[in-house]
Subunit: 578 residues, 2 copies
């Protein structure tokens, strides 16, 4: 029991020198990657650079204690940072103390929600985010994030809450275009794209081992940060108008309780819920992918607690919302991390950087951070998914396209809420007119098939309908309509059999419909029978009065029903086209 809530107890027991070495190496590589990322994502969230560092220390320690994934790397990530900016931007101006207070409170509330969901085992809430919605949302977020960083590359003061506003605002401020900034930004972007695409193969070709080549390639952003910082310092470009990160407080963050202002909590409630769910879904899918590669297991409920404590830890140490990031976790895994201790060692690395490296960050151009963000998020944009989804399923395509469109036009929260609502409605619509078939017996067998597709025996006074879907409120009325239509078109029907092998559930609405069908068929002089009812469905029906009132019988097999009910007169083999 204790081990379930404290997974650290499981892996600490078998911890040894070999594991330690592997974890240390992985931690070193992830630290190098995380320093520029944490600064950049703080910038994206509209927060001071040091907040990104603070969010990369304690949360990693908390996850190492409470998380179940061996290799997940927790910390600031792009999509959650964007959602933080959207949520907090509604309440306060960037750069104010209120803005920071709200971002910290957001991490705290989101952390409490995740812990609560974990304790109540409500991870199923994440199920309502269908894949097309989350994929469309991440694509649209990537586009918005990239667009929001273009101003840093151009060195202009653009702003806007959606893609169109951003683009117009950048165009309007085009006269502010700052050439030195643009040169830094464009070179950094081009360099990073080149590194991402070409460096690793090049290094391997020149004789380096693939694993080290991978690590070197991942250090690209650090090289860009170091080079542009040095250039800016050497030529005093900051005095020529290149915007830099500036003074970053040195030393570890202070512990402090977040704001408990109830108004603030109310205003942040929905945003915190959305951030929690999106962050959890992103994180858990990375964790699951990596775990299964080593035949390990993660426990989604305990993951909620792990991520929740990470966010609470972030909030009490001056950080903003965090979750498990995709790219860093993959690097952590590939670098050989074996236990969550790697995360704790990364935290030590970031803490050392916070103490010793922050003075060096003064001359880091914001354009370089913007370049690292753009290169990172454009890999999230997957417009090809739209085409694949279109080919596979139209309703899913509609949900995905709506999510992308609304996220771009109205913002992240509107986008995700619309996507979730639409995918639920479309699912209900899809099941509201289930496939059904009037069936007859394939001559000489006990099989019953659609009379429209097969040459089958039918009998004028017995009609059999097979429904290929569970019966519940969204399709209960359709079932009634279908049955009445069939019976009113066939005057000589005396027995009506509903064939139920595909019915996994009959809810109270559907039960009412079955009762109504039974009564109305009785009024029309037709007996109502069921066949092939599944065990659990039958158990439930027995708890109602339906079976007592049923005018017909419940048959174990459709063939029994047919043999019992078919008239003695000849039942011709026919091909109907009803």
């Amino acid at each position: 029991m204790l081990e379930r809530y404290l997974p650290i107890l499981q892996w600490l027991r078998t911890y040894n020198k070999g594991t330690l070495t592997n974890d240390m190496v992985a931690a070193l590589i992830v630290t190098i990657m995380l320093i520029p990322q944490s600064l950049a994502y703080a910038l994206l969230a509209g927060l001071p650079a040091e907040v990104g560092l603070y969010a990369s220390i304690l949360p990693l320690v908390a996850y190492a204690i409470f998380g179940t994934s061996r290799t997940l790397s927790v910390g600031p990530v792009a999509v959650v940072s964007l959602m933080t900016a959207a949520a907090v931007g509604n309440l306060a101006l960037q750069g104010t103390a209120e803005y920071l207070t709200a971002a910290i409170a957001l991490a705290f509330i989101s952390g409490l929600m995740l812990i609560l969901m974990g304790v109540l085992r409500l991870g199923m809430l994440a199920n309502f985010l269908s894949h097309p919605v989350i994929s469309g949302f991440i694509t649209a977020s990537g586009i918005i994030i990239a667009a929001s960083q273009v101003k840093h590359i151009f060195g202009v003061d653009a702003s806007g809450h959606n893609l169109l506003e951003l683009v117009i605002s950048i165009a309007e401020h085009a006269d502010q275009l700052h050439w030195p900034t643009l040169i830094i930004g464009v070179s950094a972007t081009a360099f990073l794209f080149w590194v991402r695409k070409n460096l690793k193969p090049l290094l391997i070709k020149s004789g380096m081992s693939p694993r080290i080549a991978e690590v070197v390639a991942k250090a690209g952003p650090v090289a860009a940060v170091a080079t542009t910082t040095l250039v800016t310092f050497a030529f005093s470009l900051d005095q020529g108008g290149v915007r830099v990160v500036g003074e970053v407080p040195t030393g570890l963050p202070d512990f402090a309780l977040p704001s408990f202002d109830t108004d603030l909590w109310q205003q942040l409630f929905v945003s915190a819920l959305l951030i929690s769910i999106v962050g959890f879904v992103e994180s858990v899918s990375v964790a699951q992918t990596l775990a299964s590669k080593r035949r390990q297991r993660i426990d989604p409920s305990q993951e909620l607690i792990g991520l929740g404590t990470s966010n609470v830890a972030s909030a009490v140490s001056g950080g903003f919302p965090v979750t498990g990031g995709f790219s860093r976790s993959v690097v952590n895994f590939d670098a050989g991390a074996e236990t969550p201790a790697a995360g704790a060692f990364t935290a030590v690395g970031i803490a050392l950087a916070t103490i010793f490296l922050t003075p060096l960050l003064y001359f880091l151009p914001k354009a370089t951070l913007a370049a690292t963000i753009i290169v990172a998020v454009l890999s999230l944009v997957d417009l090809g998914a739209l085409k694949r989804t279109w080919q596979y399923s139209r309703p899913d395509f509609v949900a995905m396209a709506a999510t992308i469109l609304l996220t771009l036009v109205s913002g992240v929260e509107a986008g995700i809420v619309a996507g979730v609502s639409l995918s639920i409605l479309l699912y209900l619509h899809r099941t509201s007119m289930p496939h059904s078939a009037v069936v007859g017996r394939v001559p000489g067998t006990q099989h019953f098939r659609n009379i429209e597709r097969h040459d089958v025996e039918t009998c004028l006074d017995v009609m059999s309908l097979r429904i290929d879907e569970s019966l519940y409120f969204a399709n209960a009325r359709y079932l009634e309509d279908r049955v009445y239509e069939l019976v009113s078109r066939n005057d000589c029907v005396k027995d009506f059999i509903l064939m139920c092998p595909a019915i996994n559930l009959i809810d109270a609405s559907a039960l009412e419909s079955l009762e109504a069908i039974n009564l109305r068929l009785k009024d029309s002089g037709v007996r109502f029978h069921l066949s092939e009812v599944k065990g659990p469905v039958m158990d439930r029906l027995k708890r109602s009065h339906f079976l007592d009132e049923l005018t017909g019988q419940v048959f174990l097999s459709q063939n029994d029903a047919w043999e019992t009910l078919k008239s003695v007169e000849e039942c011709p083999s026919m091909r109907a086209n009803t």
Copy 2:
């Protein structure tokens, strides 16, 4: 085509003298019933009495032309009148011109929505109202309506937006209690209850034919109206403080277009949508019940148009929202109505009443109208349904109880919105952890059964899982969890078979999950197979790349899969408890 949109063309062709007589008799009886009802429901909606009469003329004619039910009686009904009061009460004070304008606009908007839904064949929207929600909503509405009428019986000035406020307000105004009003109100209520319960059997016992006894019993409210009006007139009780209907304009309503104020339309939009859907659901279920008794059919889409034109007709002739009423339709049916012409004749009856009878209504006590409302709506209250639903299905019970509670506490609109949302969430939750079973072969057969329930053959390196539900976003993640858990617990598994006979749909999220399962099992060295995939599901899978990437095969039958994959070593018959 023309006949589909103008059902009158179907029945008018065969109209003859016999039909005419029957329709006339039914119309006479319904008219007698409708006069007090239309006055009472206008009072309930907070409108002047004559508005109830106006809503009972043109709408009936419109339905006779466009409706598909032969016997539905359209006009003011209790629940829709309550919803009208709730919607309009938010925007204007009762008794003001704005209040009337808003009520008329509400009928117009609701009418347009219904027509649009009919033309677009969107009747499926009504499917989202599950039976427990609608039943709970009607019960709660009945309780609220009855409580809201108690003040008229007591002769006090109470008001309130929910049950508690109403009760407290009545208690606070108890000192206003007006004895003559109370005596009239209580006697009328007692009389009407007695008539409803005892008059018909009494009349039959005394030798009257059951059909005539039925009609006489239905005239109870008219008798109450006539008697109390006469008493009030004779003793000038109105001057002693008994509130009466007062001056009612004589003559037919004027035609006028409703308000086209866009602000008003926006404010009424959601209310109009809820009224449309609730009205439609109530009406169509009555119409269907009655139609099936004579093996007739109604067309739900055309019903939307019929009800829509009725509401538009109501609005242009100064009326408020209408729909098909349960009790009047049953009376119309029992009285022998054969075609919608009976409705048109009823309209003539009400028109005549509007011209000739309105002066007589001056002395009609409001307490009498309140009594007719109370007696009518208490028959809608069905608390027994709570118990039946509890026995059959807990999730449906939760949706029903929440609907009742929220309707009583927060009002009709909050109640219905919460009920619908909750029933959708609960359904998704129910299907998010579908029943599944690891299966093995029953020795000597080709049947595969749950290894936990049956003695079956299994094979250590082949595992088969049967899922008894369609796969979609709400359960896709659960499927992944289930598969990974099974595989990570059984190290020697080499082949994993997903048995799909109960899967009617695999949406894009579930496809992603299957792809993830395939890849992750591949990483663990396990091949992934499918068996017994249904035709339409297979067709859809062929449109994706999944089948190309599948590490295993798709087998037509589970037995084929088993025979192909089981190892040559002995597969023992076992009873596992995994």
